[in-house]
Assembly symmetry: C2
């Protein structure tokens, strides 16, 4: 029997994977399943980006790039920050990574010693805490709820900070709740973090997918914040595995050294393809998709509320609705299982996102067509009628 | 100033990167540089593999795959083990990873607690020890030299094992020495590792690039060995970032859980492209390239010996020659710098590979054309004549 390092007991599998496996079984047996559990856009990568990837392969771009990425791509991202956010970022501070996951790993690895704590919202993206477990650190959840739009407040950050805390991680828009932090909120929190001599990491991987006012980057607050972003969500490039990190200038040499060791470089064809992601024809496609996501949200949110799910804060970003299902169940995991078996609708139970009342919540992803969402809501309505009989 | 976790002081940058940066400077200023420091094949990915990657993109394969990889690719690799090694591997034991680097990280992460030691040959591939540092473990070098073909002996493994050791890592063919371990050597070492209740990890990323008898996989010895392989070297797919891991069946669930968290999945276009890497037309190209590497080795090895470099064991694999340069210098790093500045030849100093007499050694990579190697040898000869004047 293979030994298992201690961290493995602290790293939980995604519970939704068991549901997904069951959904695939049911589909293989001929059942129709409406997928509202999936955290990636249903759209294929925009054609101009695909075309750029094909052109790169035709030109034989199959060797390693530098560990921190293609210079042209780092420069293009810097232009993007200037155009979209009116923020100046030196290209040297941008590190291209194999997905935002690797960006997060780089940052955690240079900041966290064994035993150090990292603060983060609960509920939150499950991998965040597991990157801290990987390094034998302690992820410490700050319980958040609808009363603060599911985001930690400056007062909470102050209260949860102690001598063990090395860093705070924020996410805006948040997964699973889709809520944002304003620039002033980030500024107030950043000031508290700096007073404690800690570091602030901000996950902006759902930037671009916002349906009210555009989100401002945390880099507008300070150069001394680690910002993680990705080509996966807004840019629709999940399978290419490409993300980036903007870091304080003083830490770039350390990040470069670590990137050389941990992953050598991000995928080359993806980096060339991504150069086309910022072009007007790509952006036009992406903005049309954003409009489509908004239409889906604007359908699904009131439909779920009408069925009796409580979603007190209107999510302004990402493609998730985090819904209180306590009117129907006191066990959201069992509820998700039953919904799948009885009605063929797959959703994600709260337990994947933390330990603060997960049994009362489920996450709906609107990463499927409006037609599918409508069918899903019909099935949900029937299912809920059945369980309340 | 950004804090730096303790591990960052233990993770050394690759010293060759400074030389490489200087080489690029010289090239930008118009100097001709012969590159014999680069650890990737100079060949572009075989055209049938590129074509398969293009076809995958045209078909819109841009979404995530399962964390452990495409089922079709895992099955194809299992067939490869049967055909090439006459070894039966269940596809379920094969985990597709974003490069061999990620495979190594997965294995280390499930085996190594902070403070645990991992044994490995010194000299050896520098990232190996840094993956152990990442987890706050202790990489412990076993000093090896030409007397044992640069490989640890069973007696050494026995002598270096103590209560802190969790695992032993072997590499065959080895980087930087190009030497192999025979099946019987691996078997004897495996038995010692198991007696101690430890685990054996074998790096086989240079398999396929051998110039004598074909290397046998360590999986012929036991199912209970972690074997790391890659599409980068023999298959010529460095920039695509794709590798794989064959693991004991009992650890696959843990590896899957960790892969979901650390990197979500390997790049999708690369996985589809790799399906074509095993086809006869690709293999024909790869075998012709192997012949070309052999021609280069057969030129460079005697040429370097004639110049006065000592290479007592003929390397049978990879594309490296690890040469004793003590006839010319007692500081191989300074020697490498001077060779670059004075003669425009870039090589890798021993210090990147460990602490066992690195100052006496340099690594030559024959990842450039025979014409370039000939020019490099001419420049080396002139340089050595100059320094001996």
């Amino acid at each position: 029997m293979t030994r298992s390092a201690d961290r493995m007991a602290r790293i939980q599998p995604f519970h939704v994977m068991a549901l997904l496996a069951r959904a695939r079984e049911l589909e293989a047996a001929g059942r129709s399943i409406i997928h509202m559990e999936i955290g990636e856009p249903d759209f294929v990568t925009p054609q101009p980006v695909i075309d750029a990837g094909i052109a790169a392969l035709q030109q034989g771009h199959t060797h390693y790039t530098p560990a921190v990425g293609l210079t042209a791509l780092r420069e293009r991202i810097a232009v993007f920050y200037r155009e979209r956010y009116q923020v100046t970022i030196e290209p040297e501070r941008i590190v291209i990574t194999p997905g935002a996951s690797s960006a997060l790993q780089l940052v955690m690895s240079i900041l966290v010693n064994p035993g150090d704590a990292v603060l983060m919202a609960d509920p939150g993206y499950p991998c965040n805490r597991n990157f801290v477990h990987l390094l034998n650190g302690e992820p410490r959840g700050i319980p958040v709820d609808a009363s603060t739009a599911w985001q930690p407040t400056p007062e909470q950050v102050q209260a949860y900070w102690d001598g063990k805390v090395a860093a705070l991680m924020l996410a805006s828009p948040s997964n699973p709740t889709g809520t944002l932090l304003g620039e002033q909120d980030i500024r107030r929190i950043y000031e508290i973090v700096r007073e404690h001599g800690g570091h602030l990491i901000v996950d902006e991987i759902y930037h671009g997918l916002t349906y009210g006012s555009a989100a401002q980057t945390a880099l507008a607050v300070s150069d001394d914040i680690f910002v993680i972003n990705s080509f996966s969500k807004y840019f629709g490039m999940t399978g290419w595995r490409l993300g980036w990190l903007v870091a304080p200038g003083s830490s770039v040499a350390e990040l470069d050294k670590l990137a050389q060791n941990l992953f050598l470089a991000a995928p080359t064809p993806a980096q060339y393809a991504a150069l086309a992601a910022f072009e007007p024809d790509s952006i036009a496609i992406l903005e049309a998709r954003r409009d489509e996501f908004r239409v889906r949200r604007d359908y699904l949110l009131p439909a779920l509320r009408k069925l009796g799910f409580e979603i007190p804060v209107t999510p302004e970003g990402a493609f998730y609705l985090y819904a209180d299902c306590s009117r129907f169940t006191d066990d959201s995991y069992r509820f998700s299982q039953q919904l799948l078996e009885a009605a063929g609708v797959a959703i994600t139970p709260g337990i994947d996102f933390g330990s603060y009342y997960p049994e009362r919540h489920v996450r709906f992803a609107y990463t499927t067509s409006l037609e599918n969402l409508e069918e899903g809501v019909r099935r949900l309505a029937d299912f809920l009628r059945g369980t309340s009989d």
